[in-house]
Each structure stands twice: as structure tokens, then as C-alpha cells.
Point group: D2
Chain length 434, copies 4
Amino acid sequence: MSGYFGPVQPLAYDPDAEGPALRHYDRDEVVMGKRMEDHLRFAVAYWHSFGWEGGDPFGGRTFDRPWFPADTMELAEARAEAAFDFFRILGAPFFCFHDHDVRPEGGSLTESRDRLNRIADIFEAKMAEGGPRLLWGTANLFSNRRYMAGAATNPDPDVFAYAAATVRDCIDVTHRLGGQNYVLWGGREGYETLLNTDLGQELDHMGRFLSLVVDYKHKIGFKGTILIEPKPQEPTKHQYDYDVATVYGFLRRYGLENEVKLNIEQGHAILAGHSFEHELALARELGILGSIDMNRNDYQSGWDTDQFPNNVPETALAYYEILKAGGFTTGGTNFDSKLRRQSLEPEDLVMAHAGAMDVCARGLKAAAKMLEDDRLEAARRDRYAGWNHPEAQAMLAEGATLEGIADRAVADGLDPQPVSGRQEILENLVNRYV
Amino acid sequence: MSGYFGPVQPLAYDPDAEGPALRHYDRDEVVMGKRMEDHLRFAVAYWHSFGWEGGDPFGGRTFDRPWFPADTMELAEARAEAAFDFFRILGAPFFCFHDHDVRPEGGSLTESRDRLNRIADIFEAKMAEGGPRLLWGTANLFSNRRYMAGAATNPDPDVFAYAAATVRDCIDVTHRLGGQNYVLWGGREGYETLLNTDLGQELDHMGRFLSLVVDYKHKIGFKGTILIEPKPQEPTKHQYDYDVATVYGFLRRYGLENEVKLNIEQGHAILAGHSFEHELALARELGILGSIDMNRNDYQSGWDTDQFPNNVPETALAYYEILKAGGFTTGGTNFDSKLRRQSLEPEDLVMAHAGAMDVCARGLKAAAKMLEDDRLEAARRDRYAGWNHPEAQAMLAEGATLEGIADRAVADGLDPQPVSGRQEILENLVNRYV
Amino acid sequence: MSGYFGPVQPLAYDPDAEGPALRHYDRDEVVMGKRMEDHLRFAVAYWHSFGWEGGDPFGGRTFDRPWFPADTMELAEARAEAAFDFFRILGAPFFCFHDHDVRPEGGSLTESRDRLNRIADIFEAKMAEGGPRLLWGTANLFSNRRYMAGAATNPDPDVFAYAAATVRDCIDVTHRLGGQNYVLWGGREGYETLLNTDLGQELDHMGRFLSLVVDYKHKIGFKGTILIEPKPQEPTKHQYDYDVATVYGFLRRYGLENEVKLNIEQGHAILAGHSFEHELALARELGILGSIDMNRNDYQSGWDTDQFPNNVPETALAYYEILKAGGFTTGGTNFDSKLRRQSLEPEDLVMAHAGAMDVCARGLKAAAKMLEDDRLEAARRDRYAGWNHPEAQAMLAEGATLEGIADRAVADGLDPQPVSGRQEILENLVNRYV
Amino acid sequence: MSGYFGPVQPLAYDPDAEGPALRHYDRDEVVMGKRMEDHLRFAVAYWHSFGWEGGDPFGGRTFDRPWFPADTMELAEARAEAAFDFFRILGAPFFCFHDHDVRPEGGSLTESRDRLNRIADIFEAKMAEGGPRLLWGTANLFSNRRYMAGAATNPDPDVFAYAAATVRDCIDVTHRLGGQNYVLWGGREGYETLLNTDLGQELDHMGRFLSLVVDYKHKIGFKGTILIEPKPQEPTKHQYDYDVATVYGFLRRYGLENEVKLNIEQGHAILAGHSFEHELALARELGILGSIDMNRNDYQSGWDTDQFPNNVPETALAYYEILKAGGFTTGGTNFDSKLRRQSLEPEDLVMAHAGAMDVCARGLKAAAKMLEDDRLEAARRDRYAGWNHPEAQAMLAEGATLEGIADRAVADGLDPQPVSGRQEILENLVNRYV
């Protein structure tokens, strides 16, 4: 035990607590036939909570953790100790990590891999003691300066190869630790300026890289899901995995739409100009909804703020879309959220997560109630009911033609009258649940 | 002749003119082996220049044109007269229109079609006299209240049918007038709130509608290109044809990627968070670049401002991408640009177009010179040169595996070093041309 | 009675109602020693609810009200009848209007004034029967094309004079009807392009105009507050009353900071890049908080969406700032909110307001509880407690100098250590109330 | 000489050069009666060009400079050597720095001051040899974690005192080096959340701090200008010095509007939702235009991108406003611009500045020509000519009343007709110069 967070005692569920507690998230409470823990599948993000030092573009480290700077294996081990204490305090069933978060990079691919495996040994032991499971692993292909112009899309083929080796190692470790998914976030797969970029070639290389990853997954028998995490920009001017729709087109282009799903982040959705629920609903309809990175972006800050979720009406709409998709399978709710850099204390880290878990639990419960009560869905079905008529279905069926439909419209003297969309009434309805 | 613009005298090309003239656009000047007119293929947009009355959400008509309100066929004819005068003054080789712009809607589909044909008769006669050709026609499926909840994506199947009949008539007229393309802009194909929307069903209906249109085009022997015009939002909260990448995925989903191309608008690109050149380059690489709507959006106004293009460095980058694609085939440069509502005079309309033509001509000439000088492309090729090596190509070839590449990276002890991207030097280079 | 809304029966407060009701807003419930009605001082906006026809930049009227188009006095009277029915159904204690909303403009200033007075006669009679009071009146100085280049800031001095006459008449009517405030919204006081604008001269004219208004108010004995409503842009590229801070500087420049307060709108705050609570808090600290326009802007639509408020956590933070200011005096909560244009039915209008009233009531009650419990304020006081020390106060007192403070800092060997800002813990705290 | 940039040979002015040269900036060319060097007063920013390591929120240092990490005095001296070589190569007449850029912070205020003075000794010697002059100095009150919650606005009064001591030392050094201005940029003077912030108290402290600075300046006889640099947000959620209008109100509130001017940055203007020329014009009209930070923000990246200026039409409009103000007095053009992090080479740094100087020179020359030709100003004067009439002036003169103006408007039967604003024609006019 690290001692950093004081005595390692799981946070209790206590709706009426004055002090630190979970007020809404009771992991064993059954919602729509499933325990909340199994619905929400919370994961803690190693990077933000144990790797991020509190810096921003205008200032350096503010956090004073005993494991900083984690540039030795000893400090990396101390960090792991603290992290698993933290997981236990929260009672989080999952965690997620990049290679880069858990060990200092070595002087060579081999040394980096060895270090990763040494930390994985520690993780394995901790996990065997009832620690959390691994929601997903991933490789950091963006921080090192070798990746400044991309990993799979780097103009230098050696970087492509280097990235391939790194991902191989990270999938191996993820597989060994029983990871439920493997994520690719292409933070540098994009460009700073079109002037020096061959867009078509870079897209092809990215498609190629992903195919190699998919093949490898099958070869080693990894049963987890390969996930892409969309983001529109930052740090780059443009990122190829812009949003759900863009990634869908990309997957179709390279024939991967049945192999790869998406890890969708609230903050990234907002940066792309979409609501979180839009991205979730679209991914569901396209059959590529995988997992979520839960956080909140300041709608008025044009960069990735990764705040802890704090608005219940918003989380309710997000979980509503997820419940409509049948809930998570391999996916879960990863808190890709970081403390504000002024939140210095261990208590801040604990309470930020506890608050977020409660906000998600309130959202889930409201969403479940909405779905069970069926008023919203009934209104939606009603709105489209006209399409159940045979004449309407015929327009969608094989054999229909534009001119045939047109002629009928003329013949019938169609003059369709608008019907209220009832948006405010539906918004009021939602407000009865949140 | 309408007399509205005074004597109908084509604007002369005169670089040194004090008064109204074209200072940079000499239609017969040969650029990269082609006359500028044949490169740029300018079109005037009927709606903004002859239909729009100068209103905005906070005030009504400011323009005092003799043909307003064009709610009778007489006024519609007066408008056509003025429009063709204007086309001749500008020497524009093309124009574009919606059904809605050229005739008042009738009381029935039949009457609307008849009216459209009566105006088309006038157009046909004018065009035969050497008036401009038709770059594209389109149907307005967004202004009438029947379309408030969408056309192809309307919850009411009768609206789908009504829209089908309207599009049929508009394609017929476009075909008859020798239109080079037919455009679909789905201004209402989207949603105001997800709460009342069945995203998946609406997308399927939209895919279906487009397939019907493509089939019809072939049936009647229309040789023009079917174009979709992306826009991310406004008037809706979300529009399905969000941007180039989104439409590409949509076309793939419904098997239409070889049948349909894109009409890309500068202002819509910006509203979607992209540069215009990004959208053009991406469409080119995806094989779906069709035509452009040239205008300029205020980067700081969050709605579609449709200003006339006025920044040469920007138009140069746009035409650079178009020239790299081999130039337009059926497409062209449509000025989907409107006067500011305080620009009341006929002279404002003429000079706004003349200025825009000059800005485009300057952009085209700069782009052509850049391409011919080949410095930018040489730098780009150089940056990716490593990929020409056999070892690099092997990674992309069949048979390569992630583990194979990884093993080689380890064996070779790869340690790729970053190379300058030279962005500022390339930007300086561009500035030597614009 | 208009009959438009069915039987005129006030909405009941009934937390458990299945059908239409107020579920949270019980006007007589006492919160922090005051009835909720007296806290919230709800007002209905005549323009959005009775004047707006459902148009947007891409389509015209969707609403089918019997009083549209209200271009005759008869229809204006029918509209008034319906409006007062509506006020009674809602039980709204206030309403607001522009001259333009309530009567068609006449052919001259005199005729416009006469028409305004005729409608005011009707209002007066209705109000005497126990109808709502007037929260504020205002003049529409933006819709008519004469104002296209501004009212007080128009390059044409005749427009300045015309606007002066119009405002005089509107203040007179507001005074006569017992209005609690008079509002100026400068929708066209700004510019489309700096190229044709004399910024300094326009600002001076605007300052002058406001001084004239203030003088007039005193002369006629109008006891209400003169309010400016900030907005950053739309319809203009730039509006002079950009935000709270800008208007404060403007008032200081023209010596009006003790005469004029602000009417702050949520949507306008957002368009200016601020949270609503920021604008409220700043206005309070600057002593110019007057009244609010309550609505919600879509954070991702770059124009004024004027949606009904629907997010309780947000309204709670807004009313928190208002309660900290001691609540409204002459101000109130005006619903400057409009139906989505697909919400066609009378029921939509009623329920949109009812939902908004409930959202505000929930916000107010949460805010009051937070303030009474004092945890948030205690944390804030604690954070600044160091400033209560004499040495700290001395730095702020007369006689302190930079060098004196610097010398002391050196002498004391100051090395201040950062203290947690506890943001997430405070956000969690708020979530216990909302 | 550092040798880092190769032989230290000033860049020549040579419009036809193939290789590195200044193609438009001829320092001795006379524009509107003044040498270009004296107009533009270029300064190099020490921090971006010699302090910034190429990191971003997702990756660390990319630049491989021999003086990194400059955490010893030896490296700081090596850095100074390289910087002055660079200044000579560019022929820049000015430079700017923060204390933080030029020396590693010491363990105490005294040690930090001593180190600053040791570097200043070096600067002094270099400057005596004909090196550039100091445009302005400033203190970095944002990078060290002690400032994470603000400097003058920190809840901890010891931080206020610490900042005071630091600024005292920086003004002293600026004074000693003959600095023409002293700048305050309040990067942390703002808040992350209103929940823990006392807005009013913080503003008062900030006003107090600025007053102390102004008093000190006078006491030591520093003749330079005190400048505030506005920025709306980033790193904070909200920065108090939001934009020009906000700072003006702040200065008025604390009686400092005649003592302090503004250093206006293009990128910050854009982040605040304004065009650069707007901020410049407004500052001019308010009498607080001081100096500029020249760069370019990507309009579509919501953070401070600090790119080198590269769009001539934009710089022309900026210098037009500056020329209208009579040009710089103590101010100048500081390149607060940084290389893209992929631009690794010394040549990138040189050419980025050279390109920027040329872009500014082109802008200045175009602006001067526009002003001399007077067409734009003639059009503007013409637009407001009505205000020269005695009747118009009377409305602005003492004694005029709202009712008097109103009565005259009625009596004269005013019916003002709109006049074209000619925006496109004016934009075309500008395009004839750029």
C-alpha cells in the first residue's frame, strides 16, 4: 500500500452521508435487470489520474505526487502501488492505460517492452488479488518526438514500423492482462498544414496499419474489441479520425467496418461540433458503438478540457442512447477526465471520481426509467407511424421508381400538412426524469 | 431587356481601368493550356442574386427590385429578364437555379411543374441567343413548411413522395436545359432534436431517395453528374450531409460512391470546422470532387454568411487543389454568394460579382504558377520519398504482418529521427505566388 | 376571449399531475422569505410567442395562428386577445413587448404612435382586470429597413431623429402602463464591415442617444430602470453592446453607469463566449445587474437559438448569482424564448412556458438552499481569508507602494505555496442541490 | 557568436532572390514619409524563439537546441549568445522578453533578481555593440505553480506580494535597458470556476496592483508606456483582460485610462471573437492603442496558435488602422509567433521571421497606399456627411432633448430612406491594394 490516499478503505454507498461517500452509485442496485456495476463498467484512466502532472501550455507541474517524475522503474512501481490503492478506494471494476503511463520508455524497443512487461507483472499480481480488470490498453503514439508527424501516417516509413512494433507489444500486454478491448487514438494521425501533406497516401497507410492490427488480433486469439477513438483536432490542425461519421467512412473504405468499433468521448464529440448523444446514436445505428470515454468539455473552451462529468441531464441522454443499444458488451465507462490543475490534494482525486460516478449513476437511472416508461419512445414511434403503411413501405421496396412515386403523388393530389414536432414537450418529459 | 442594370454591356477586361471592369479575369487568357473561362466555369446563383430580398432573422426585405415579391408569373418573367441581362453584363458562362427561385410555387404539383416549364421556355430561348449555360439545377426542398421536418427524411411518407415528384420535375427541366449537373442540398435533412428523431430510419430513407434519383437519371439519359452539397448545420441543429467525410461514408453505406459526387462550399466547409482546401483535397482523394460553391464565410460568425470571396491567398489554395485534381469536368465555380443586405444598388450586385471573379482569377493564376513551378510538390514528394524504398513498400504489400514489421523494427534497432516539416518555409513559398 | 387556447383556465400547481400542470413552480411557496412569484417575476415575451411566425433563414412561416399576418389593427387586436388569454393560463405576473409586436407600423410617426396607443388602451383594460403587469417595454429599432445601418448609430442623422421619436413614444406608453423598466436592445447598433464605419463617431452618437433617453425618463417622472441588453453579434458582424464588460466601459465613458443597468440574456452571454453566471456575477459586482432574459442557446449553434431553458443545473447557477445580488428589484425573468418552428400547436406554446417555469423554479429552490446552507460561500470565504490579515489589507490601503511591498516580500523570504482550488469538490457540492 | 545559425550575416533585401532574403521589407524604404523600419518597429520575442521547446499538451520537446534545457546560467548565457546572433541576422531593431525566458528562476526573490541582472549585463553589452533595442520587458507571472490561481488576483496575499516584487525587478531591468514599454499579461488573472472565485475582490486587487505599478513607474522615472495585453481565455476559463473593450472598462473603473495603454495581439483578438482590425480601431478610438503582438491564429483552432502572420490582406487592414492612429509611438510590431513544433531547423526560425517581416511590409505598403489614395476614407466621410449639417449637430449639442428631436421628426414628417453601404465595392477597392 502506498499510503498516499490514507487508509485504503472503499468508499461506501450512503445517500445521506455528510462526508465522502457514493450518494447515488450503489453498484449492486439492479437497474433494468442488471447490477449498476455491470451497466456502467467504470474504469479509471491511468494517464490523467497517475501520469498527468498538472501542466498546461502556460505552466508546468502543479501536482506534488511522490511518484513524480516517474522516469525510473522505481517511481513507476510506486505509482502502480498508489494506483491500485486508488482503484480499491473507488471500487472501480476496471482501469485503462497506455504503455507510456505505466513505465518510462526504454532506450530501445526491446527495453521498452521489457519494462512494460515488468509493470504488467505487478498489475497481474494486483489484479489477481481482486483488483480491477483491464477495460482496455493502448499505445501512446503521440508524445515522443519521433511521432510529431504521425505514427501510421508518418512520412517516414521507419516510424510506421516503430509504431507497429509498439502496438504489437501493447496488444500482447493487453491480451495477457485480459483486456476487454484495445484502443487506437490517433492524436498525431492528421496534419498541421496541407502544404506538406499527402492526404491520400496518409489515409491509405492508416488503413493499412489498422488492417495489420486486426489481423494480428485474430492471429493471437485476442477476443477483445479493437476500438478507434475519434477526435477532430488538437494537437493537430486536423485529425483523420474526426468524428463517428468520418471513422465510419474510413472503415468502409478499408473494409474494416465489421472488425472495428468506436470509443466515443464526450469532449471529442463537442470539439467536433456534435452532442455526445448524437455521436452515440449515430455509432449505434451504424453498428460501431463500442465504449465511451466519459468526461465533459467546456462548451466554450476550444480545446480538450477533459473535465469530470457534472451535468446529470447530459449523462442521462448519453446513457439513454447506450441502453437503446442494449448496453455495453466489451465496452464501459472510462473516466478520461482529469483534475483541474489547481486541485492538488489526494482527496480531490478521490472525490472527483466519486462525484462523476454519482453523476453517471443518476444519469443511468433516469435513462432506464425513461426507457421503461416508454413515453419518449412511444412518441417517436407515433411520429413515424405513417411509414408502416403498405404504400409507404412500397416506396422503400425493390421495384419502386422515382417516376412511379412522382406519378402517384400527382395522381393522389398529395398536399402533406406539417405536424408538430413537440420538441419542448419532449424536453419537459425528460426533465421529469432527471 | 429589363433596363434594371442600365445598358446591357459586358464588363470589359481592363487591368488599369478606373471604373467598373474586370481587372484580372480575362476569360481568354490561357492558363496551363486552357482558357480561364474553361478553368473557372463561373456560374451566377439565381437565388441569392435574384431571389433573396435582403432579409435576415431580425429584419425583412431591404432590396427594392422591380420584380419583388416574385409571387406572380409576370414578376417571375420580369426577374428572368433582369437575370439574363445580368448574366450578359458579367459574361458569366453558367448559371444555377432552384425551381423555387424561378417561379412561384403553384397550388398543386402539376401547376408547379407547368410554371417551371413556362419559365424554362424563357430560359431556353435566352440560352439559345448565346446566354449562359446551365451549370446545375436543383429543387428547393426546404422553404415550404411541408418540408419543415425534412424532405426524404420526413416522418411523413407523403412528404417523401412529394419531394420525389418535385425532384423528378427538376431533373427533367435540368436535363432539358442541358444542365451539366444536378444538385441535392439537404437543408432540412437532419434534425432539431434527437428526442423526436429516428436517426437510422431517416438515414435509410435518405439513401433510398438518392438511389431513386440515380436510377431516374440513368433512365432518362441525363449525362450530368448528381451532386450532394454538404453542410453541417443551420437551419437544423444537425444536417446529415455534414461534410465531405460524412457524405463519403453515407455514399459507401448505400453503394452510391461511384454515382454521386460533391458540390463543396467554402462557407459550409468552415461551418464544419474545416478549411475549404481540406474539403477539396479530401474529396479529390476519395474520388468524389464534383463542383464548388464559391463564397466566403466570416470565420467568426457562426452562421452561413455567404459573402463574396475576397481573400486571394485563400482562393489560390482552393484552386490549387482543384488543379491537382485535373480541374473541373462537369463542375464549375458557382457564386453561392449574396450581397450584404445594405448593398442596395444594381451596381453593388455587378461589382460584387466582378470583384469575386477577379479574386478567383488571381487565385487560379497563382495556383497554376505554383503547380507549374513544382516547388511545393517537389517538397511534398521529397518528404514522402522514404516510402519508395522496397522495404517500405513491403509493409504495404500483401503478406506483411504486424509481427513481421515489429520484428524487423526490433532487429534493425530502428530509432527514427524527426525531420523538419518546414511549414513556415512552405507558407512563405505560397506567399511568393499570391 | 380568443378561444385559441381552449378554455382559459390557469395551469394548476400539481407535482404529481399526469397531464399539463406546473410541477415545481408554486407561486405562493415561500423561498428565502419571499413568494416564488416575487422572486422569479416571470414575464412572457410578446414577440416570440405572439409575433414570431416560425420562419428561419431557409424557410418562412410554419405557425398557423388566426392573427397572422398581424398587419391590420383588427388582427393586432385579435392577437392581444389571445395573448392575454395566454397570460392568464400561465398565471404569468408580467409581460414584455416592442411597439412592433403589438401593432402594425403606421405610414408616419404619428400614425404609428396612435396605433400604439390604441393597443395600449386594450392592454390597460386587460391589465386592470387582473392581467399581468408590464415588466418592460421597448422599441424595435432593427426590423424596418430604415434601420439597416443602425438607429442611434446610423450614418444618416434623420434615422437618429426617427429613432428618438420612436423611443420617446415607447417610453411614454411604457410609463403609462406602469412598466417596471424600459429596455434598449441595439440589434443594429454595430457594423457589418469596418471598411465603411466610423467606430468612434458611432459610439459617441450611441452615448448621446442614451443620455437623451435618461434625461427624458427623469423629465416625465418614469421611475422604472433603463436597461441595455448586451449581445455580441447577429444580425451584425459586431454589436457595440457586446457583453457586460463592454457595456460597463461604454456607460463609464458617457457617465451613465449610475443611470442604466443591464438586461442580461443567457443566449447572448453564450454567443459572447461567457457563461450566463459569469455575466450575472460581473454585472452584480459592477453594480449594473438589472433584469434577465431567460432562455438557452445551443452551445454548438453559432446563432441566437432562444430555446426555452431546460437544464436545471444551469438555471440554479444563474439564480444563485441573482440571489447573491439580493434578488430582482425592478427586474424579472423574461422568457425571451421561442418555440422550435416545428412546434406548431397552442399546446406547445403553453407547455414550453410551463416547462420553463418549472425549470426556473427548480433552479431557484436549489440556489436558495445552497445559499442558506452556506457551504459554498463558506468555502469561498475561507479561500480568501488571508486577505483579512492586517498585513494583507495594508497592501490595499493608501500609502502602500510597489517597492514597499517588494521589499517586504524579499525581507520575509516569501515563498507562497499553492493551495487546492477544490473545483471538483465544489461541483459535487452543487450537484447535491440540483 | 554561437554558431548555431551559421555565419552571422544579415539577411539582405532582394526582391528577386532565389534563396533566403527579404523580398518586401526594405528597412530604408520610405513609406508615408518614414522609413519602414521606423514604421514597423519589428521585435523578436525571446520566449517563443529561444525559450519554447516545441512541446504541446500531447507531447514534449521537439526542438534540439544546444541551450535546452536552459536551467543553468551557463545555458542561459549560451541562449543569449544565440539570440543576439539571430537578431543580427534578421536585422530586427527590437526584442522583447520575460524574466523567465532569459534566466532560470533562483531559489529566492533575491537570487532570481541577481540572475536577471547578470543576464541584463550581457544584454547591455550586446545592445551597446549595435544589437537591437528593447521594445518591452515583462514578468512571467503564470508558469510557476505559485501563480496557478493568479498573481495579483491570487486568493493568497503572499502571492500578490511576491508578484509585486517580481514586477518591481522586471521594471527596473526594463528601465535600465532602455525599454520603450513595460507589458503586463495576466495569463492567470482570471478563473477556472466561478464556484471558488470572488470576482469583485479579484478585480479590485488587480486594479490595485496596476495602480502600484503605475506609481512606481513614475517614481523611478521610467518614461516607457505601461501596456496591458488582453486575452479572453486559455489557460484559464476566463481571463479578466478579455479584450480591448473590457480592459477599457477596467481602466476607467480604477482611474487608469490615461496611464495605461494596450498591447493587442491578433490571435487573442480572434479568440475573443473579434477581428484584429476591430481591436486596433477600437483601441485607437478609446485612446489606448499602444503596441501589437503580431501573429496569426488559426480561425478554426480554439486555442492560441501563435502562427507567424501569413495573410497579406489581413496585415494590410491591421496596419491601416495603425496608420490612421498616426503610427506607433513607443509601440511596435512584436512577433509573438512560434514555429510549428515540426519546424526543427535553425533555418525554419530565420525564414519564419523573414516571411513574417515581408508579409507585414506588404501589408504596410498596401495600407499606406490606400490611405494616401484616400478613396476608402473619402467613401467613409461621404457616408457620414449628413452629420455635418447644423440640424444634425444640434442633436448632439448641449440643450437638445429627446422630446425636442422627436417633435421635430414628427413635424418634418421624416421618412429616412436607406442608402447602400457598398461593402463589396469597398472590399474590391481594398483588393486593388493588397
